[in-house]
């Protein structure tokens, strides 16, 4: 956020909250605000935005042009590419003109919603999203901006009407990837989405909800409490739609491309024949991200879409063969370490761990078992290691057996790796 260059020649120093504050220094703000106004205009998608920007040089330039006479045809013309028809209809161009005439309306809506605005010009714009084709020019964020760019992110999506098993599976997957330090991305919908978010929140892992409308129209309303919990837990609720945009049939597929775009991998838990989760799956492959599908029984309508997708996608789509196997396939086995040791301050506070505890947790996951090994692995003083072990123990992350420590709970390794001292010691453990 401090990148002066990315803010244009005038630059300014701003924290994340200032990104949405249209009330900051007007001169410098103009381009940033112009982005918000232009991207917020109905009918302006990423394609239109990019073309208009290319023609007029800047969003300020676009808005200035929109205020001139004969702007509508000029804008429509500018939204065309040499080999493509105009992306902007005349109606949509009129909306841009309208927005340009009254920029304060869009900015006021942002202020009212109290959200952070991230444009592609901002350094804190999610790096994964930046890599996909045509990323949304502007994102509206409630919660931690840093949660959008975690070390590892896994999307867990599926039907709104899951079976009990599907719901539980989504929770277990979210818990496992959360335990290994990845953040859980989903769409805040009922069913699988909610189960995944819930599990992550419960385990203190950061989670990101991508909603299919503006923040003023949070959908579904029944998950409003969940959204609050996500934000309170250090996660974020994010959308590319301006706060006053109501969700509609067309907004959800666009939302799905952000879900996959924010994630390293997408996991489809249960998807019926026409489930929207399948579009997320398709987007994941389109964006070159990993895709995993939880298989199911033949003839089970809950997984009809999943199985069909598996059949058609070929080897690019992979199967979830078990939680531990998934963790391994995701390459998350050692991520617990990265999460614990190198997590950002935000992720750490979301997990409730201090720096020393995080280091010790990381070393424990790498197999260090005695205080000596932990000291050697972390470089911390012995006293700090001992105190950290108690904190981890109280949080249910570690157990001690006769002076040796093993990760447990969400810090636990995949079950195939046997704990080192437990194997032989447990049988004859004296209980005094």
């Amino acid at each position: 956020m401090l990148g002066v260059g990315r803010r244009g020649p005038l630059g300014r120093d701003a924290g994340p909250e200032a990104g949405g504050g249209a009330s900051a220094a007007p001169q410098a703000l103009e381009e940033h605000a112009a982005w918000v106004v232009l991207a917020g205009a109905r009918g302006v998608g990423p394609v239109t935005f990019e073309r208009l920007l290319a023609t007029f040089g800047s969003a300020v330039g676009v808005l200035r042009a929109a205020c001139e006479t004969g702007a509508v045809p000029r804008l429509v013309e500018a939204s065309a590419a040499p080999d493509a028809p105009p992306a902007l209809t005349a109606v949509a161009a009129a909306t841009v003109v309208e927005a340009a005439a009254e920029p304060e309306r869009a900015l006021a809506a942002v202020r009212r919603a109290g959200v952070t605005v991230l444009t592609q010009r901002d350094e804190s714009y999610p790096r994964r999203l930046r890599q996909v084709e045509l990323p949304p020019p502007v994102l509206f964020v409630r919660g931690e901006v840093a949660a959008l760019s975690p070390a590892h992110a896994v999307a867990v999506v599926g039907t709104r009407r899951p079976t009990a098993i599907g719901r539980a599976t989504a929770g277990r997957i979210a818990e496992a990837v959360g335990a290994h330090g990845a953040s859980v991305v989903s769409g805040l919908a009922y069913g699988i989405d909610a189960a995944a978010h819930h599990a992550a929140v419960r385990r203190g892992a950061p989670t990101v909800a991508v909603i299919g409308g503006g923040h003023e129209h949070l959908y579904p309303a029944g998950n409003r409490g969940l959204a609050t919990a996500i934000v309170a837990g250090g996660g974020a609720v994010v959308t590319e739609f301006a706060p006053d945009v109501a969700p509609s049939r067309g907004t959800f597929p666009r939302r799905n491309r952000i879900i996959s775009g924010l994630s390293d991998a997408t996991i489809v838990v249960e998807a019926g024949a026409r489930s929207g989760a399948l579009t997320t799956a398709a987007w994941a492959l389109e964006q070159g991200r990993a895709l995993f599908i939880v298989p199911g029984r033949l003839d089970d309508p809950a997984v009809a879409g999943s199985l069909a997708f598996l059949r058609e996608a070929g080897p690019e789509a992979r199967v979830v063969a078990g939680i531990a196997e998934l963790v391994e396939d995701l390459g998350l086995e050692d991520v617990g370490v990265a999460w614990a040791a190198a997590a950002t301050g935000d992720a750490r506070s979301a997990a409730g761990l201090g720096a020393a505890e995080a280091l010790v947790a990381g070393a424990l996951r790498r197999g260090a078992g005695s205080p000596d090994e932990l000291v050697a692995a972390t470089g911390l003083p012995g006293a700090a290691v001992l105190a950290a072990l108690t904190t981890l123990e109280l949080r249910g992350l570690v157990v001690e057996v006769l002076g040796r420590y093993q990760p447990t709970g969400r810090l636990a390794d995949c079950p195939r790796r046997l704990p080192r001292a437990m194997g032989q010691g447990a049988a004859g453990m004296p209980a005094v």
Binding site: V375, A384, V399, V401, L402, G403, Q424, G425, G428, V432
Partner: protein, 526 residues
Amino acid sequence: MPPVLATLLSATLHGLVGRVVRVEVDVAPGLPGFTIVGLPDAALSEARERVRGALRNAGYRHPPRRITVNLAPAELRKAGASLDLAIALGVLLGSEQMSADIGGVGLVGELGLGGEVRRVPGLLPMAIALRDRGVRRVLVPQEALAEASLAPELEVIGVGSLGDAAACLRRPRARRRAPEPLPRIGVGLGASPAGAVAGADDGLDRVPDLAEVRGQVAARRGLEIALAGGHALLLIGPPGAGKTLLARTIPSLLPDLDDTAALAATVVASVASEAPVTKLQRRPPVRMPHHTVSYAGMVGGGPRLTPGEVTLADQGCLVCDELPEFGRDVLEALRQPLEEGSVAVVRVGRWATFPARFTFVAAMNPCPCGRLGSAAAACTCPPGAPQRYLRRVSGPLRDRIDLWAAMDRVPPELLLRGPAPESSAVVGERIAAARACQLSRNGGVPNGRLGGRALREACGLDGPAVARAVLLSEREGLSGRGTDRLLRVARTIADLAGRPVVGAQDLDEAARFRIPADRFALGLAG
């Protein structure tokens, strides 16, 4: 010839305390005889023979008259041979073989048949007792001159024989010795009777530096906390884990004793030692009795009410390696000193209370085969054997142990890779600072002896720390006693870090040294 009554001042030993005895010698006409009255013990009754022989062999006459020696106060039971010199000189004065001004003079020493004056154990407390009674000048055996000179503000004169003593009393100025200044630094642990002592610098018993102990961070830290706060520590680990090596570093970690404590330690040495004590014992004693030690050897007793290991370790450290191998009665006997800082020694009709304020450091294997909980090998004990082994350390004794630290053999790669361990000098400095700070705050009481309200006040827990303490107590299912233990240890940890109040991190660290009954339960549950 009219009867002459000579009155002299001497002293006997009662426990660790010298008691002044007035020796009245009456040499009267009549049937020759030699009677000692005033509750003498067997050794004292034999004084007649020693005095008789000494007088003759020193060139004096043994007067053929009725000699009566009265020892006052009458109700005090007197023991030992320390009164010999006074009795013999009393006979010389009473039979008018010499005359001298003996006002304000004390006489302490055993006589040989040849007239030589020998040292008696406990010369130092006896000299102190005489001084406290207003005696200005004391005649002591020449060989123990240095020992008696450790009593402050007292003129001490060494005499080699009865003749020496008589000559000295006739010309008191001639043989006067000014007391030597107190030596400030005493290396070594002073002389002591049989029993293993981790001596400071006597070659064979070289004290290893803490830097020689690689790894074992939990045990090292446990020892640091134990020595800083006077907490009892139990090290549990397989043979070869380095328990003994770690314990042997203790002398290098303890700070010097202050004047009062040094004098108290020297008094103990003076009483216990068969050889003269030569200097003030500045270094705290570290006693490592073997597990075959007898009850009397541990607690004290014997014909002379000799102090035992617990008293010899007063102001210092008592180390018990192989704790469960000690006799059951010996282990039971540790309870009283651990609770009260003193021990009562009783022997037919006589008793004494000895100080026993030591830091207790014990070590044991986790089970009879020693491998339980080890990362490298499996326990081969029959079922139930480890439990029985641990139960040999009885509940009440377990309750007095604040710190439990598990040790394991350090894997070779860690020996090379691990961080360079801190040296004794560095850790010893922290210990000394933590001690000074807690003693001034607690009014001279070490953290290890705090409890109840005084403990809570000393901790000064704030809101979050109270919450942490409650959480830890509940989680561990701690009794009130267990919670006190946690707070005591946390208080010392904070003192080591120079923190005026105990914080959550101190409690967290303290919780790692909990009694393993809870750990086993957790281990089985996990």
